[in-house]
């Protein structure tokens, strides 16, 4: 069971899993130490979870766009900003070999005001639109109901939008910019840190709501391009760049995600805030773990000295202390990890954030936990090294 017995050669010298025995000798103390470490780990896990949810929520729409290449204004500094271009520019893109389809994607984050059907209050929301015959999203719920958007002035609403928008209720109709729209279905997307809720509609309804029925057709925010089977994305991308006007950029999906991620990381405060939280959790955890090891070593000093006196090398004792610190860390990490899965769910539902436990967060938190326990144990263990059998008794 122990790490010690798994090493041949050493096994004869110490068949007893000493670290394990030390750890479990005093159940109350174990509960106390794993509780202390556990909460420090939980703090780190929450911060890591929030950071991930922040980036995930801002990338959700991009990830949900069903395309291989994306055309947008070259002046955009983030995806979620207005910089439309004429839909007709995509005609040239469709002529390029390897392009299977180039579909218009309309969006607005600044000018769409939704009326809560229940209380009549008006809120800024984000609106997405496309031609119902040329879907651009890979969200199944939107695609299943896109046919109904063909009737004029119909919309799908985000039932995961913030509650005060009233999108979760089964209202038959509401108003967008004063235009009465019929709610013909819904989907679950959720807010990000910029928009509280989302409305999806046809390009025609989008134009009606923005400019009135007689107004100019609005520009598109992105062209969603799908490649023909076997086409080389890099070559098509290069050909598109050459054909399209200089004011437009062409990105693969990965590039578009990286573009948005870079903006969020550089400009928003979320990255540093959650990093500070994680570092603080790590330092506090290190301190708790140091206290545990220090106290434990101090209490067991006579025993360690005895082992030394009967011939166990210092290195062996060192390993016992480090093993014990690692086990202590694990004893805190496991319950904290389990608790965080539950907390992610609860907070994710309450805050409408995509809080999900990922392999990345799992491994990172495990590494941080073992790191803080081993570093602090390495500092605290100096006493064992110095333990002089003659002095202890």
């Amino acid at each position: 069971m122990s790490i010690a017995t798994s090493l041949p050669g050493r096994a004869a010298l110490h068949p007893v899993p000493l670290a394990w025995r030390n750890l479990t000798a005093n159940k109350r103390r174990l509960l106390r130490s794993s509780g202390g470490i556990g909460f420090a780990v939980l703090l780190m896990l929450m911060q890591l979870g929030f950071e991930r949810a922040f980036f995930d929520s801002s990338l959700m729409v991009i990830r949900g766009l069903d395309g291989d290449l994306f055309v947008q204004s070259a002046h955009k500094y983030q995806f979620a900003t207005q910089d439309p271009f004429p839909a007709a520019e995509l005609d040239a893109a469709r002529q390029i070999p390897g392009v299977a389809s180039a579909r218009p994607f309309y969006a607005d984050w600044f000018d769409m005001f939704w009326k809560n059907p229940a209380d009549g209050k008006i809120f800024l929301i984000r609106a997405f639109a496309f031609d119902p015959d040329q879907p651009v999203f890979s969200f199944a719920q939107i695609n299943a109901e896109r046919g109904r958007l063909k009737s004029p002035d119909t919309v799908l609403v985000d039932r995961r939008g913030r509650p005060f928008l009233g999108m979760d209720r089964t209202a038959g109709q509401s108003q967008l910019n004063g235009v009465t729209v019929k709610i013909v279905g819904n989907f679950a997307l959720g807010p990000d840190f910029m928009s509280d809720g989302t409305v999806v509609m046809s390009a025609r309804t989008f134009a009606d709501v923005l400019h009135g029925a007689a107004g100019n057709p609005p520009g598109i925010e992105a062209g969603v391009i799908k490649l023909a089977p076997g086409a080389d994305p890099a070559r098509v991308q290069a050909a598109l760049k050459k054909t399209l006007p200089v004011g437009l950029s062409v990105m693969t999906k990965d590039q578009l995600i990286a573009f948005e991620r870079k903006f969020q990381a550089e400009v928003s405060s979320a990255g540093p805030i959650f990093a500070i939280g994680t570092v603080v959790g790590f330092v506090v955890g290190m301190l708790i773990s140091y206290q545990i090891t220090y106290t434990d070593v101090a209490d067991q000093l006579p025993q360690y000295a005895t082992l030394k006196a009967i011939g166990y090398p210092t290195l062996f004792l060192l390993r016992v202390v480090l093993e014990q610190a690692a086990l202590n860390g694990l004893a805190g990490w496991v319950p904290a990890w389990l608790a965080s899965i539950l907390l992610f769910r609860v907070i994710g539902e309450l805050a409408l954030l995509p809080m999900r436990m990922s392999l990345g967060i799992t491994l990172l938190s495990l590494g941080l936990t073992l790191g803080m326990c081993l570093i602090s144990a390495a500092i605290a263990v100096r006493r064992v090294v110095a333990a002089d059998p003659a002095e202890v008794f």
Partner: protein, 375 residues
């Protein structure tokens, strides 16, 4: 009991130092989470903190500062005519593309339109540059605007939306949640930048009352004057409204609230560990005290005093370190993380609470101290 607690703590200096460092970190942790918890609502108050007003006239569709809705200018004129009012200013908000950002980007600039003659802005730098603001198509740029806007040198001409504007100077107020960059323009320049907007669509109407007038009473009168479709906030009501918006309408409250809660639990665990280690080490001595006739109450008082001493000794350096870290966070994240008396009081309260809970937990062990067992 105080002297006994003191002696226990000072008996092994190294151990006590360790306890102090632990306490220091636990308190610092609570300070940081609390600072972040309030930073967002404080960021939302940035503009208001820099405006001179007693009452604020806004649309009844007002959500929060950056999404205020609009009301007709006539409403503000009616209020201005009232004898209680010293000044009533119209502020206009608009967002336009800054076509001169770094690397060819066109970031969105938040433009505030204001009459240059008004004294509504507190920063002196704005008043000093009134002449520049009065020049047509000239803006003052907030120097806290992000680097994505490129160089913001005075005299630079940039296309803002469809119009060329000149940077006439700088001021520093902070961008808050208005956007990545903020600029001031005169009402006339603003009207040319946003031709669709017409001066009738006012976003905020800060009102300054004549000296000696009670804001709450004046608000009631002015509400009737302003009429339907508008509302009037006193400063206190506005601060409440904004804080409620950020903590309940967004994810902010939950995110930093949960961080705050967990940090307090971590603090309790740290203090508990410190106190219980001390108690365990002194168990024979405590048992002896019991044997010679000291009651449980006296021992409990000793433990409680120990906890309090540790908290007090950890609090002062933690306060200093937190003030330093707040400044660092403020510089790095542009969030207004500031130390207030309320923060100090709240964290001190939390620390005392942590000490009380952990002393109670440690007392469980003490009560079992049986003189017969120990020896």
């Amino acid at each position: 009991m105080v002297s006994l607690a003191w002696r226990i703590l000072t008996h092994r200096k190294g151990r006590t130092l360790l306890a102090l460092v632990g306490m220091f970190m636990a308190i610092l942790l609570v300070f940081i989470q609390l600072g972040l918890f309030y930073a967002v609502p404080q960021g939302g108050m940035l503009l208001y903190d820099n405006l001179r007003f007693d009452l604020l006239l806004v649309s009844d569709q007002y959500e929060y500062q950056a999404q205020p809705g609009a009301f007709p200018l006539g409403r503000l004129d009616r209020v201005r005519a009232s004898p209680e009012v010293a000044a009533a200013t119209a502020l206009y908000f608009g967002v336009a593309k800054w076509k001169g950002g770094a690397g060819g980007a066109w970031p969105d600039l938040f433009v505030i339109g204001v009459d240059p003659k008004s004294r509504v802005f507190l920063p002196r730098s704005i008043e000093r540059q009134r002449a520049a603001l009065e020049r047509p198509d000239t803006i003052l740029v907030d120097s806290a605007s992000r680097s994505i806007f490129g160089p913001l040198d005075t005299g630079r001409v940039v296309d803002l939306g469809d119009r060329a504007v000149t940077i006439g100077g700088h001021y520093r107020l902070g961008t808050g949640f208005m956007g990545l960059g903020v600029a001031l323009a005169s009402t006339a320049s603003f009207g040319r930048l946003f031709p669709g907007r017409g001066p009738g669509q006012v976003n905020l109407g800060p009102i300054e009352l004549k000296p000696g007038i009670d804001p709450a009473a004046a608000a009631a009168t002015l509400r009737r004057l302003a009429g339907p479709g508008t509302q009037i906030f006193t400063r206190a009501a506005l601060a409440d409204h904004e804080e409620t918006y950020w903590t309940t309408r967004t994810s902010v409250g939950l995110i930093f609230g949960s961080g705050l809660l967990i940090s307090i639990v971590v603090g309790i665990m740290v203090v508990y560990q410190i106190v219980s280690t001390q108690v365990n080490r002194q168990m024979p001595q405590f048992a002896t005290l019991k044997a010679i006739g000291y009651g449980d109450g006296a021992l409990a008082a000793t433990v409680a005093t120990m906890s309090l001493l540790i908290v007090a000794a950890g609090f002062v350096p933690a306060l200093g370190a937190a003030a330093w870290l707040y400044r660092l966070i403020q510089q790095r994240t542009m969030l207004p993380v500031t130390m207030t008396l309320g923060h100090v009081a709240a964290v001190l309260g939390a620390a005392l609470g942590m000490a009380a809970v952990s002393a109670l937990l440690a007392l469980g062990g003490l009560r079992r101290a049986d003189p017969a067992d120990v020896f």
